[in-house]
């Protein structure tokens, strides 16, 4: 019996020593400032265990420390897709965005910023359940209005029901919007150090073709894509929207979809 316990203890210790996952080894590599090793280990973990918000966050940090701003932005975006409530990832994304060469589009009106904050305060599923709860409450208020004999209670039910209906509608919109953003593959981050936007899906030959050059870390929206078998560098070109003013073509190999 005594020996058995000993054996169990030894085996347990051995397992504990070897059971460090790739992500945990990557953590220690990151702390030792070996960012290249950390990057490869986090990527290995993502390949074997599938996407995870935390691992993407850590990978983004490793890329940033390795001066790879484009990939850092990509990883933070992916992390936020998986967990929009991660305030650290949001902070780091904003921080890295402030360090990239192209100024991000500043279209944040007060309401848009508010909506953005609300989007980030809970996951899409949480919003869906909040919407359902609000709907039940709305039905309760409606029932109160219909069935209650007291005038005050009926009034409360009526106006409360109207308010609940609006809040419910907004929550549902947020839930759908959040899920749509998370599932959307129409956004991409520039990972090449810099690339030149072209007015047509081919390498720009004249200065008239050249629209603007954008640099790594900039997020673009993919509107359209076209196959370009003639271009030896990239088999596909994307028509991207950089901001409300600029829409042009770039090589698919220069960007990576989020």
């Amino acid at each position: 019996m005594k020996y058995l316990l000993l054996i169990i203890a030894i085996v347990g210790a051995a397992l504990g020593a070897t059971a460090q996952s790739a992500a945990q080894r990557a953590d220690s590599a990151y702390n030792k400032e070996d960012y290249r090793l950390a990057i490869s280990l986090y990527n290995e973990d993502l390949a074997t265990n599938g996407p995870d918000a935390q691992v993407y966050y850590n990978l983004g940090n490793a890329y940033y420390r390795n001066d790879n701003l484009g990939r850092a932005v990509l990883c933070y975006e992916r992390s936020l897709r998986l967990d929009p409530t991660d305030a650290d990832a949001r902070h780091n994304l904003e921080f890295v965005r402030s360090r990239i060469q192209d100024r991000p589009e500043d279209d944040t009106s007060f309401l848009a910023a508010l909506h953005h904050n609300i989007l980030g305060s809970a996951t899409a599923n949480a919003w869906a359940w909040i919407a359902l709860t609000l709907f039940v409450l709305f039905l309760g208020a409606a029932a109160l209005y219909i069935f209650s004999p007291g005038v005050a209670v009926r009034k409360a039910g009526f106006f409360g029901g109207i308010v609940l209906l609006f809040v419910f509608g907004y929550s549902l919109y947020v839930a759908i919007d959040s899920a749509a953003i998370a599932r959307s593959h129409n956004y991409a981050v520039v990972t090449a150090p810099s690339t030149i936007l072209s007015s047509s899906p081919r390498p720009s030959r004249t200065s008239a073709d050249r629209v603007v050059s954008i640099h790594e870390g900039t997020t673009v929206e993919i509107v359209d894509s076209v196959a370009t078998p003639d271009d030896p560098q990239s088999p596909m070109w994307y028509n991207v929207k950089v901001n409300n003013a600029t829409r042009a073509w770039l090589r698919a190999s220069d960007v990576e979809r989020i």
Binding site: A19, Q24, G50, F147
Partner: protein, 620 residues
């Protein structure tokens, strides 16, 4: 001469005799530089002593020509009544230099009345004879070899004679040369450059038009003794004077060249003038322009990579720190000194980057350099950097030691001196208020946040699951809405039914009456007239009771008539109903039994019920 001696003798007799032995000495006056094949003089000087002439010393490579030649000199000084007398006897031996080399004159002693006096040994150099003009060297010897004269000028007349007043000045006869003490140095390693003028002429003026430019060097001028020497250069003997001596610090690697300088020189030539019976010489001044040579030096770069913290110190150094006062108090200034001592480019060091802990405020450092040239080839001294610091907070702090990294050109390696960190204790200053000024702790991190610790996770599903994409979720809404609507409908109906108690009866009134009439019809067919009338009357009364919501106890003819009118049934129909009711009552109590009568009554009752049903539908 004899007269003067006599006067001196008289004076000596007048003066006090015993001043004789004071300051007796015996010294050797060696020649400065001697050229092979020439004569030179070696003089022993005996002061204030009486002795026999010393025997001539044996000199290697020299042969004694004659000597000693004795010259005696007396001098008496009377200063403020104090009389001092000096008697000097010079014993001069004339030698001829036969071999070039260094000659050492041995110690020599003379016996005097008071004891033995010793001369110190001395050495001088015999330069080899000129390659070109060796033939003339012997001609002018005696006059030039005076050890005391400031500027000896041997060979001038010789070369003049050689040139024969041709007016040409050979480039070999007047040269300015730049010499480096080393041919190859490291960057920042000091090297001495000497600019010398070599001449075989007398020079009356020497003006530098263009000085040799030392580009790529930091220069430090060294003091130069204003004297000329004889030097054998390229096999010839020249008068040589050092124009300039510079300590150079090369600032870049590669081959650094020195620009040639240009000098305007006025030389003095002696022209031979034939005056018929004798020939004489007269000096003639001539202006000559000469240039210095283009010297070059190879500068090696410092080995790469330089270690971290290297700030250009080349040489050999030590470093230490000191704090004054050692006990710090808040808001009282103190001096933290970083002292570098050593040999090398001490003047061109940079201030050490000392990091002070937060809580100790530091001001712009002040550097103090104290360096001087040692050995004529290098700079030695201290480079002291004073940091004025004012502690702001009470507590224990550590001033990190800034290591000094320097390159030693002799070993060709970098060295690091680890200056130990200094632990300081800061006490409350006397002028400080008892209540400290509160610090603001707000600080923002201008960096990304740190990574989160990874947890051990198993493989997760590749695609995240979203509730809004699921049909069941939307079905739940529909279900909930339907449930509410259903509840509302059911509740509405039940309320309506409950609020209208006779509603059910009313709904069934038509059917109940029809049933009762059918029962009456079977009775009619059976010929039971009495039961038929009773059934017909009850059917009609029941119908009216149900239909008009009149309690059976209040079924009277008047009530019914009023209710019928209220119900909105027109006069004719109401009259008909009342008629049928009257007939039924009458027939019950006055049996007639005729089939046709029963048939007619049945039809009328049915028609009355139908009329009420119809009128109800109309009214709604």
């Amino acid at each position: 001469m004899t007269k003067r001696r006599f006067i001196i003798f008289i004076l000596m007799l007048v003066a006090v005799l015993p001043a004789f032995a004071d300051g007796a000495s015996f010294t050797l006056v060696p020649p400065r530089t001697v050229i092979q094949g020439r004569n030179f003089a070696l003089t022993y000087r005996l002061v204030n002593a009486e002795a026999n002439a010393p025997s001539a010393p044996e000199l290697d490579g020299c042969s004694l020509l004659f000597g000693p030649a004795v010259s005696t000199m007396h001098s008496t000084e009377i200063i403020n009544g104090r009389i001092s007398t000096t008697r000097t006897v010079d014993y001069t031996y004339t030698y001829r230099a036969e071999q070039p080399g260094t000659v050492t004159v041995p110690e020599l002693s003379v016996r005097t009345a008071d004891g033995t006096l010793r001369s110190r040994s001395a050495s001088f150099e015999i330069l080899p004879a000129d390659n070109a003009g060796s033939g003339q060297s012997a001609s002018s010897s005696g006059s030039s070899q005076s050890g005391h004269s400031g500027r000896p000028n041997p060979g001038k007349a010789d070369s003049n004679g050689n040139n024969g007043g041709s007016g040409r000045v050979s480039a070999d006869d007047l040269m300015v040369r730049v010499f480096f003490s080393k041919n190859t140095v490291y960057e920042q390693e000091p090297v001495v450059a000497t600019i010398k003028v070599y001449t075989r002429y007398d020079i009356s003026s020497f003006i530098a038009r263009v000085q040799p430019a030392f580009e790529g060097f930091l220069t430090e001028e060294l003091p130069v003794a204003a004297e000329t020497t004889l030097e054998n250069f390229n096999g010839r003997n020249y008068h040589c004077a050092v124009l300039k001596k510079l300590l150079l610090y090369p600032q870049r690697s590669g081959r650094l060249e020195v620009n040639t300088g240009r000098y305007d020189v006025t030389i003095v030539e002696y022209e031979t003038v034939n005056m018929g019976f004798f020939r004489t010489q007269r000096p003639v001044e001539r202006d000559v322009t000469t240039t210095s040579n283009a010297a070059a030096i190879t500068v090696k770069p410092l080995p790469a990579p330089a270690p971290a913290g290297f700030a250009g110190a080349v040489g050999s150094f030590t470093a230490r720190t000191q704090l004054d006062p050692e006990l710090l108090r808040t808001n009282e200034a103190a001096t933290y000194s970083y002292i570098i001592e050593g040999t090398g480019n001490i003047k061109y060091l940079s201030e050490p980057a000392v990091e002070f802990p937060t809580g100790i405020e530091s001001y712009t450092p002040h550097a103090e350099i104290d360096a001087r040239v040692v050995g004529g080839t290098n700079m030695r001294g201290t480079y002291k950097t004073d940091f004025t610091i004012v502690p702001q907070e009470v507590g224990n702090f550590t001033i990190a030691g800034t290591p000094l990294v320097y390159f030693n050109p002799e070993s060709g390696q970098y060295h690091t001196i680890d200056v130990p960190a200094m632990d300081v204790r800061v006490l409350r200053g006397t002028g400080d208020a008892a209540v400290p000024q509160q610090n603001n702790l707000d600080a923002t991190i201008d960096d990304i946040f740190h990574i989160h610790a990874s947890t051990d996770r198993s493989a997760s599903e590749s695609e995240a699951h979203y509730v809004v994409g699921n049909g069941l979720y939307w079905l739940t809404y529909l279900l909930l809405a339907v449930i509410l609507v259903g509840i509302i409908i059911v509740y509405r109906r039940s309320i309506r039914l409950r609020a209208d108690v006779s509603g059910r009866k009313l709904a069934k009134a038509g059917r109940t009456a029809t049933k009762r009439l059918k029962k009456a019809a079977t009775l009619m067919k059976a010929g039971k007239s009495e039961e038929f009338y009773a059934a017909t009357a009850s059917a009609l009364w029941g119908y009216i009771s149900d239909k008009l919501s009149i309690a059976p106890s209040q079924l009277t003819r008047e009530n019914v008539a009023g209710k019928l009118a209220d119900y909105g049934i027109d006069e004719a129909a109401a009259a008909k109903v009342m008629d049928v009711l009257d007939n039924c009552e009458m027939a019950r109590f006055t049996p007639m039994g005729s089939d046709s009568q029963m048939n007619a009554l049945y039809d009328e009752a049915a028609a009355a019920i139908a009329a009420i049903e119809n009128s109800k539908k109309r009214s709604k």
